[in-house]
Amino acid sequence: MTTATNQPKSNSGAGSELSTERLLHMYKQMVSIRLFEEQVNDLYTRALMPGLAHLYIGEEAVAVGICEALNRDDYITSTHRGHGHCLAKGAAPDRMFAELLGKEAGYCRGKGGSMHIADPKSGNLGANAIVGGSVGIAAGAAFSAKHLGTKQVAVCFFGEGALGQGLLYEVMNLARLWDLPVIYVCENNMYNEYTHFSETTAGEILARPAAFGIPAESVDGQDVRAIYATAKRIVDQVRSGKGPAFLLCNTYRYKGHHVGDVNREYYRAKTEEQRWMAERDPIKIFTDWITGQKLADQAKLDEIQSRAKVEIDAAAEFAIKADYPGLDEVEEDIYA
């Protein structure tokens, strides 16, 4: 049985080659994602958000570490738990909130909601509410990039639950046969909804891509520096034409499967959650390193955080005040 705990130690050298500015930008991105998600939860509890949302809190290092290694025109596909990917790839929080509230100013004019945010400008092919539903789309974008010679790469984010979907294996086979520049990023947060992944996942996760000839490795999903360093190396390699790659990021979601999943004890212990938050928090780990390396002091980081908070709050405010789409919008965009 694969376990999330026996992960390799952090790539300790990572980060040293990055400018302080870049590192602080990564910090800001992680903090923004967390603040964004806290705001989402708040909008939900205040009954301002229709439906549900799946929060990325606890997993911020993955999206940020990966997306920082990408160019703006590189592609990503995302999941039901997609706000982090979206922000990390460069989407604006105001239009995201607007989408979450079903407003016309949203990325999808209010028609997609939390699970379908898409943004061509930042290369975001879209979140997807079908588990594993985007693995083909990501490979297809990589197919285009290769066919057109654009040197773009495509990153397909998915939760470990998607390992249950046959489509993933069909497409990994294709990606390897055709040497497509696609990177499969598996976010193993240890739960498929309310079921532990060990009850749904036979064998070793990394052996699966490897069986299709796809180079696969894992990384500590709470260490943004390690993720960035690994991603950078993989992205370079994939961009250079070596074909697909697979990266397993071992991580944890702090909150419920979705905002309404509050009583979780029947499927996981509170102590488990507390342990991750206390010992493995990606923002804290990064903070400690930054301050330890004296790249910035706590005051500087607090300031970044405050600025992010102002921005996120303003973005939410924008969305709350924004208009709903007119009723005629319902029949628009069915066909292009």
Binding site: G113, G133, G164, N192, T200, Y324, V330, I334
Partner: protein, 331 residues
């Protein structure tokens, strides 16, 4: 309906009670699906079953709709009576080969040698603000396929009786529950009963117009019927309960009696359930109809997220009321 309505259950409870009774009665019945055990599904419909029947009969799966449906087909062929759970009806897309090319055809292709007594539970219905991939009502697809039976309960009473029939049926049955109705209450007797397939239920008698409605649209139709009553129009509401087998006779007779018919269903209107039923009525009651059969299905758009847009895509009481009023020429 039962003689003495002693007890109210929600639709979710009625389904659970049917499953529990059948599992007690027949050790071959087992439940297979995502988060069906301790979680009891996200809708909590199956809560408590794993405690009573254990993990060997209430079986959590990976997120592998095609895979566990295929396993259920094989298990059904070889002595079990599996009930598979598809969390959102939109995910049936992943199971179409197993359901349509395998389950539906095994009995026929083998010249009757093998049979596939399985049930697929799936949800349907929009208005949950879940957007286009979690809001579809795809029952028309299955109704189109010979070898399958398709059930659409509209009340807790029907849900229980039809589920028991589904489990006892020797064929693959798709049982669609509207996820917005799990909390909907209605009388359910404590004594055992089953409801045969292919028998429509007249949910309300009336003389001026027939409203055929399925699943949660039955409540919409009943609401519209109340509104119509206030303006002096007497509407009959007929619930086919199963789209296949379809009780054509009852539908046609009602339309003949009232001479007008509306068909309301939450699937996409085009090439959907309303088309078949409207066509059956238009043919069967041809010489008695005073107006064309009116179809009201979901708007031909992927279901949008934004609440008032979403609501606009689903048939409403007001819409049914207005259509009926126009057909009966009252203003």
């Amino acid at each position: 309906m039962p003689e003495v309505a002693v007890r109210e259950l929600t639709l979710g409870e009625a389904v659970r009670e049917a499953l529990a009774e059948e599992m007690r009665r027949d050790p071959r019945v087992c439940l297979i699906g995502e988060d069906v055990a301790e979680a009891g599904t996200p809708f909590k419909v199956l809560s408590g079953l794993v405690e009573e029947f254990g993990k060997s009969r209430v079986i959590d799966t990976p997120i592998s709709e095609a895979g566990f449906t295929g396993v259920a087909v094989g298990a059904a062929m070889t002595g079990l009576r599996p009930v598979v759970d598809i969390m959102f009806g939109d995910f049936v897309t992943l199971t179409m080969d197993q359901m349509v090319n395998q389950a539906a055809k095994v009995h026929y292709m083998s010249g009757g040698a093998w049979k596939v007594p399985m049930v697929m539970r799936a949800t349907l219905g929009a208005s949950r603000r879940s957007a286009a991939q979690h809001s579809q009502s795809l029952h028309a697809w299955f109704s189109h396929i010979p070898g399958l039976k398709v059930v659409l309960p509209s009340t807790p009473y029907d849900a229980k009786g039809l589920m028991k029939t589904a489990i006892r049926d020797e064929n693959p049955v798709i049982f669609f529950e509207d996820k917005m109705m799990f909390k909907f209450k209605g009388p359910v007797p404590t004594e055992e009963y089953t409801i045969p397939f292919g028998v429509a239920d007249i949910k309300r008698e009336g003389d001026d117009i027939t409203i055929v409605a399925t699943s949660s649209m039955v409540q919409v139709a009943l609401g519209a019927a109340n509104m119509l009553e206030e303006i002096g129009i007497s509407a009959e509401v007929v619930d086919p309960r199963t789209t296949w087998p379809l009780d054509e006779k009852t539908l046609i007779e009602s339309a003949k009696k009232t001479s007008r018919a509306i068909v309301v269903d939450e699937g996409y209107e085009r090439y959907g359930v309303t088309a078949e039923i409207a066509s059956v009525i238009a043919t069967g009651a041809f010489y008695d109809l005073d107006a064309p059969v009116k179809r009201i299905g979901a708007m031909h758009v992927p279901v949008p997220f934004s609440p008032h847009l979403e609501d606009a895509t689903i048939p409403s009481e007001q819409q049914v009321f207005e259509a009926a009023r126009a057909m009966c020429k009252r203003t």
